[in-house]
């Protein structure tokens, strides 16, 4: 089959690789119909997240059609049109039982690589480094999906492929981040980053009852999208002296009730702090440039929630004193996709959310290298590039 392979830092190529096959009795094989770039892929493409190996097939956000099922798959069948959350759950461990799907205790074949770093390993994910499982990614014609019954969700006829695609990762990540904010009617939520996840966090914060959503980014077209799609107020951080000052003014000096960081370790900012972080990161003295995280902690109102969706490594200079003195709650996780799928289908069917607006570039898989280039460099107003294998 054809697949997009990582061959080294900033080296991608569409190549011919072996087809996946059923290996375990609960496996299914999905023929990918749509798969999308994700900002978190950029961390290992750029070499900031370790654990990729030459030839790894990348991609973790996809939907498609089941073409093969294992002996013990009972709820799904060949021909089902399905969306698959990016983290792999088993459906039978304590974490899956408690809907903490990305923390699944049995689906990471390389769990021993994560244990020393995280204390306890996460579940596996498609196409996202070997410590995270080493599974083949979704930017390919076919993908093996373990535990097909719990990881494949049959898409209702009234939901299109393009709408279903983002239920794999961007929507549940955003929705989880919004849910972490414990939104009460009247709340103001600030969101750093208006990529796919940031937009979905802002959009679903609105659905959960937020009165105001303020989105912070530097790309005019993305900010315009946030305003148009869910009535967000926007802050272009390159146009203000200080994001914190701008937010303070917009909220009558109180600060947002909750802040969502949807940027992560390669955040951009302005001023001295940014230069310092960038320099340290270039020298590999620091893996992360945590500008948005620090801004969110500073800007949040006292007693508020900071919800972290961006991917970080071992961030240094985490302002713990600010968290304590302001009584903040910090919540974070890799997404619990399986928990949210039915609710996300409802949102789409009720007309509350149509995530297909994230698609700015629709390309054949053969153009995936160019697609990532456009996506990474935010050319042509790119929010998400999707590939059709």
């Amino acid at each position: 089959m054809r697949a997009l392979c990582w061959n080294g830092v900033n080296e991608l190529a569409v190549e011919t690789v072996d087809d996946p096959s059923l290996l375990n009795p609960h496996d299914v094989v999905v023929r990918v119909r749509l798969t999308t770039t994700c900002g978190s892929d950029l961390h290992f493409i750029d070499g900031y997240l370790p654990g990729m190996r030459e030839g790894d097939v990348i991609g973790h956000e996809f939907m498609g059609e089941i073409v093969e099922v294992g002996n013990e798959v009972t709820a799904r069948k060949v021909g089902d049109r399905v969306v698959v959350p990016s983290f792999i759950g088993c459906g039978s461990c304590w974490y899956c039982d408690h809907e903490l799907w990305s923390s699944c205790d049995t689906t990471n074949p390389n769990a021993e690589l994560q244990q020393p770093v995280l204390g306890y390993p996460t579940g596996g994910i498609y196409g996202y480094t070997h410590p995270f499982g080493g599974y083949q990614g979704s930017h390919a014609q076919y993908v093996r999906v373990p535990f097909g019954d719990v990881n494949c969700f049959t898409i209702p006829d009234s939901v299109t492929d393009e709408q279903a695609l983002f239920l794999s990762d961007a929507v549940p990540t955003g929705l989880m981040g919004a849910e972490f904010c414990d939104i009460s009617p009247g709340d103001t939520i600030a969101v750093w980053g208006s990529g796919g996840v940031g937009l979905m966090a802002g959009h679903t914060a609105r659905l959960l009852g937020a009165d105001r959503v303020i989105v912070i980014d530097r790309f005019e077209e993305r900010l315009a999208l946030a305003h148009k799609q869910f009535g967000a107020e926007t802050v272009d951080y390159t146009a203000v002296d200080s994001v914190h000052e701008a937010l303070r003014e917009m909220t009558g000096g109180r600060g947002p009730d909750a802040c969502i960081d949807a940027v992560g370790m390669e955040g951009h900012g302005t001023g001295l702090q940014q230069i310092y972080d960038r320099a340290k990161q270039l020298l590999r003295l620091e893996t992360d440039r945590a500008t948005p995280l620090r801004e969110a902690i500073l800007a949040c109102r006292k007693g508020g929630v900071v919800s972290v969706l961006g991917v970080y490594g071992l961030t240094d200079k985490f302002p713990m004193g600010v968290v304590t003195n302001k009584g903040l709650t910090v919540r974070s996780s890799q997404q619990y996709g399986q928990r949210y799928v039915p609710r996300m289908f409802d949102y789409i069917q009720q007309g509350d959310l149509d995530p297909s607006y994230l698609i700015t570039h629709d390309l054949p898989l053969e153009d995936a290298v160019r697609g990532y280039d456009i996506f990474k460099n935010k050319q042509e107003g790119c929010v998400r590039a999707v590939f059709r294998p």
Partner: protein, 172 residues
């Protein structure tokens, strides 16, 4: 970060480091498996299940009612055979060197202890390894074995990357 290389090294090269001298200490790891204690204990007496969780590290064969032969794979080097006797005690199973079996594996022992976990969480299993197997089953590798055992007991399968069309064939 070099933890990836380090853990990989432990997993793939360890077998080659099996040495005569009884190096002290070994991998000790504990997991909770959400199955009743007798089922979990029974699991470790089954050579087929042992082979399944050891994967490419080793293979285990039955050589009698309490006899277990471990064939430790060492990549390109010749495999090492280790004959053991299973000693069952209250709350533990120990695989110890069978007598008349050369001095190179003196002191070697694999011990499993079982405790009921609180709040119906199942069974707490501790895997403790003493030389020469510790070189084979230290830290990361011992955890991998327990992780696979838990996966097999709880889900009926071991997570695998066999034939994964990811990475070059040589990198598997």
């Amino acid at each position: 970060m070099n933890y990836l290389d380090k853990a990989k090294e432990q997993l793939t090269d360890l077998v080659g480091k099996v040495i005569d001298s009884g190096s002290s200490g070994g991998g000790t790891q504990t997991v909770t498996i959400s199955c009743p204690r007798d089922q979990v204990e029974q699991f470790w007496r089954d050579p087929e299940k042992l082979s399944a969780v050891l994967g490419d590290i080793a293979e285990v064969r039955s050589t009698g009612p309490t006899g277990y032969q471990w064939i430790l794979h060492r990549g390109d080097a010749e495999s090492i055979t280790w004959d053991t006797t299973l000693v069952a005690e209250e709350g533990s199973l120990r695989f110890v060197r069978a007598t008349g079996n050369g001095s190179s594996t003196e002191g070697a022992e694999i011990q499993l202890t079982f405790r009921d976990a609180p709040h119906d969480l199942g069974t707490e299993v501790t895997l403790r390894v003493q030389s020469p197997i510790p070189d084979l089953l230290t830290g990361a590798a011992a955890f991998k074995v327990l992780y696979r055992a838990r996966a097999l007991l709880q889900t009926g399968e071991v997570p695998t990357l066999a034939h994964n069309p990811s990475a070059r064939a040589a990198a598997h």
